[in-house]
Symmetry: C2
Subunit: 499 residues, 2 copies
């Protein structure tokens, strides 16, 4: 077995994955709905081919060989070997019958979830969710290595190296801090004027503004594109073909504009991994938390900055063709960061969003480690919303039924969103040691910021773990204080606490 043969196998896998990504992108951006069944068959067939390749005897042979001949591998070959080995072990962990059963249960649970959303009644989902949890609990022993708890095993699958011990501490700190900011705002804050935010800005006006903006931020439209969709996402077809998507609301410009900024953060990452890793499984992010750190860095960290909007607001006003000309900068800027408790995670503002995640984390942990009964989930959910956010869902649709994740067995995934958020703030803190970020933003000089992110995060792909990346880039492990400081300063400014 030569390295070249090994890499050729990986190349063919990359070609299949490229194709699968396109099939999926297309199904979400304009494929006629009537074609869904046949598209599902094509995706299923190609996924099968990709799975066969990932778990083939050729790959096994390569891994066995390079276990003892690591010296014959180039740097790229070595990185690929480690990643392929990890994936191979995970794919082989579970007996085939259990995988088949799992697929069947997920599919049934998804249907049950859709039905329960129609009736707004958790009872219609309860049994299927319980089955998803049961099968997941049965599978955990197959994946388990030295993790402290069952839920740690799940966390690890999405954020390698993450533990409940770390998250318990971090989320406790974060929760306390966020609740405190919200209290201060409630007591002393001056509410921003948001009355003009529903003024009509056409899709074309928004698109013109935000396409130029994200191109300046660093998204390369020569190697990517922007399309409309229902549930926005970013996807890499190839490193030269990275596609972001969005939905628009002409009565709420923030949806499309911040949505595109968010996806372009993912897109810039995918366009910036070192070319040497191309056509290998190293050309990817090491975790969803790290990927999300890049989208949130642009959407929330940069996108919340006064210095950023000082430069961009006049451009925005021009794009809106006079619609906001009577709104001064201060009023506009403050309106962007208005905060209020809300029931739906994906509509939450940047201050309350992490609380939605913490609620899900606590509930998932209880389901897997402390035997919270599935039947008790809606009450536990509603109680936590009341406790942390001061509001109580009036029905399950705007409560425990709102997220798709659990119907697909994605337990342990939610923390990634908050991890990305904290990583992003921690990264900003490090960047600011080297770059005068606010000055750059006021000048619209975004290149040095992107270059820093590429140098410290993007380029490595999966050749480093999340914690290796964060520690090397920031000099310390995950620390929620940077996000808390960022949000405290931001909201004290916007709500004129010290003003």
């Amino acid at each position: 077995m030569k390295e070249k043969e090994f890499l050729t196998e990986l190349e063919e896998l990359a070609l299949l994955n490229q194709t699968l990504a396109l099939l999926d992108w297309d199904s979400q951006t304009g494929m006629p709905e009537t074609a869904a069944e046949e598209r599902g068959a094509a995706s299923g067939y190609l996924s099968g081919l990709a799975f066969e390749k990932q778990t083939s005897s050729k790959i096994k042979e390569a891994l066995d060989y390079f276990d003892h001949h690591a010296d014959e591998l180039s740097e790229v070959g070595k990185a690929a070997y480690h990643v392929v080995k990890k994936d191979y072990d995970e794919l082989h962990a579970i007996p085939k019958e259990l995988m088949v059963e799992r697929s069947r249960l997920y599919s049934e649970a998804h249907s049950a979830w859709l039905k329960a959303r129609e009736t707004k009644n958790f009872a219609d989902f309860e049994q299927a969710l319980a089955e998803n949890i049961r099968i997941t609990k049965e599978l955990i022993p197959y994946y388990k290595k030295d993790e402290a708890t069952d839920y740690d095993v799940l966390l690890n699958m999405f954020e390698p190296g993450m533990t409940t011990a770390v998250l318990d501490a971090v989320f406790a700190e974060l929760k306390e801090g966020l609740v405190k900011i919200r209290q201060v705002i409630a007591e002393k804050g001056s509410q921003p004027d948001i009355s003009f935010k529903d003024r009509k800005m056409t899709k074309n006006q928004q698109k013109y503004f935000v396409k130029n903006l994200v191109a300046e931020l660093g998204f390369d439209f020569n190697r990517g594109r922007l399309d409309d969709t229902v549930h926005p996402f970013a996807t890499r077809i190839t490193r030269n073909d990275v596609r972001i998507t969005t939905r628009w609301n002409e009565q709420d410009f923030t949806m499309g504009i911040f949505g595109v900024i968010h996806e372009s953060g993912h897109g810039i990452y995918e366009q910036s991994i070192a070319e040497k890793y191309n056509m290998t499984p190293v050309y990817d992010a090491p975790s969803m938390g790290i990927h999300e750190s890049q989208s949130l860095f642009y959407e929330i960290i940069i996108g919340s900055k006064r210095s950023f909007w000082k430069k961009q607001y006049p451009v925005f006003q021009a794009a809106a063709n006079g619609t906001f000309d009577d709104i001064d900068f201060e009023t506009f800027y403050r309106s962007l960061k208005a905060t209020a408790a809300s029931l739906i995670r994906i509509e939450a503002d940047s201050l309350t969003y992490p609380l939605h995640i913490i609620i899900r984390y606590e509930l998932e942990k209880a389901l897997f480690n402390d035997d919270l009964a599935v039947a008790d989930l809606p009450k536990a959910w509603n109680d936590k919303y009341e406790e942390y956010l001061g509001i109580r869902p009036e029905n399950d649709l705007v409560g425990v039924l709102q997220d798709v994740h659990w119907s697909g067995g994605m337990f342990g995934y939610f923390p990634s969103y908050a991890l990305g958020y904290m990583y992003a703030a921690q990264l900003l803190h490090s960047i600011e040691k080297n770059l005068a970020v606010d000055t750059l933003l006021e000048q619209g000089d975004y290149a040095p910021i992107k270059a820093w992110l590429t140098e410290h995060i993007h380029q490595f792909g999966r050749s480093k773990t999340p914690s290796e990346l964060i520690e090397a880039a920031t000099g310390e492990t995950l620390n929620p204080q940077y996000l808390l400081t960022y949000l405290t300063d931001l909201y004290e400014d916007v709500y004129q606490i010290k003003g």
Copy 2:
């Protein structure tokens, strides 16, 4: 071997072909150009998988088995067996080394052709074209069965059953008739006013009009879509996902509007093959000539009719938002059918177009049967344009270098365009025996016409040969008189010969 196993293999082949169609569609409708190389690699890899499947031992085993057990096949299974056998034999006809050499030569010839187009000099293409002809001549014996001449073998590959004996007679008749119409027009015709045809009609105005129009004609947008491209085409991703494409010219509405009507003719066909053939190679047209008969039926046969435009012109005027309100129906209608000799085939009008095809047919036949030297091709080309159309190309770019086909070894393909044209007119003649076509067109009642085409052509897919289809639908073999009569009446009307 059971029929079910056989059909499962064909289904997997259909899934690969679905994917290949999407990869190709995407590369022509918006993929970033920088992604071309990796897309080529993905298409190449999947084409390889499809080829392996088409020529696999499983398929061979099925064919061998059903050679002697045809009684075990259902109607669909039988139709699939015949088509698969034909494809298998063709794919296996040629030794692998020759196939590899052919691919290499085509690729080199395409580069040479592009270069020659830049220099506008046939000499830069001559050697490569000669090589393409040489390899094709070497391959002909492998395909040859009982065809009378070498060129018959080539014709057969694109239009099964077609012969030079038939085409010589048909094209002679057609040429004579067309030349005569052109003479009469030149002597006695009154030229239509075309001065207003370059008035600006926006892309959105054109698109609104023509999308509604082709939906009425029968293209189902719930099972298809329309996109922009550079070189328009129609493609079936699946039978529920048929995609047509077009280019627009705001100073020439005919390009986009007749272009979309043309592609929707292909699209209606692809949407209307009997569902029972889905996921087998029977779900396709039996020849390019038959496919083209459907696009030209809508674009030229229906699209040239006074009765059709009587209904549609007011709709068109409204879509153009007043731009053509000062143009009366008569003036507008006559402008659509103005004719003039031109050098470029794809820009030719509906009267002169077949002459462009006949020129190519005569030259191809001479190259393969009568040893016309490649070096003499430009002169032969120019002489024929002068003889048949009265104009002589000023350089090779607008002469012998204009078409991509020969650079890709597609000899014998051009006649399909003219065959489609003649089939379309012959079909109209048959339809008119059963339906009051002009009355239907005046009423905008297009459904009976589409239903007729589906009943007599579309539904059969590849389960019948082109000649079987045409004879069953029209009661006779290919007859060019229907096209000549159609064009004579049309142009005598438009050019007010008898008026």
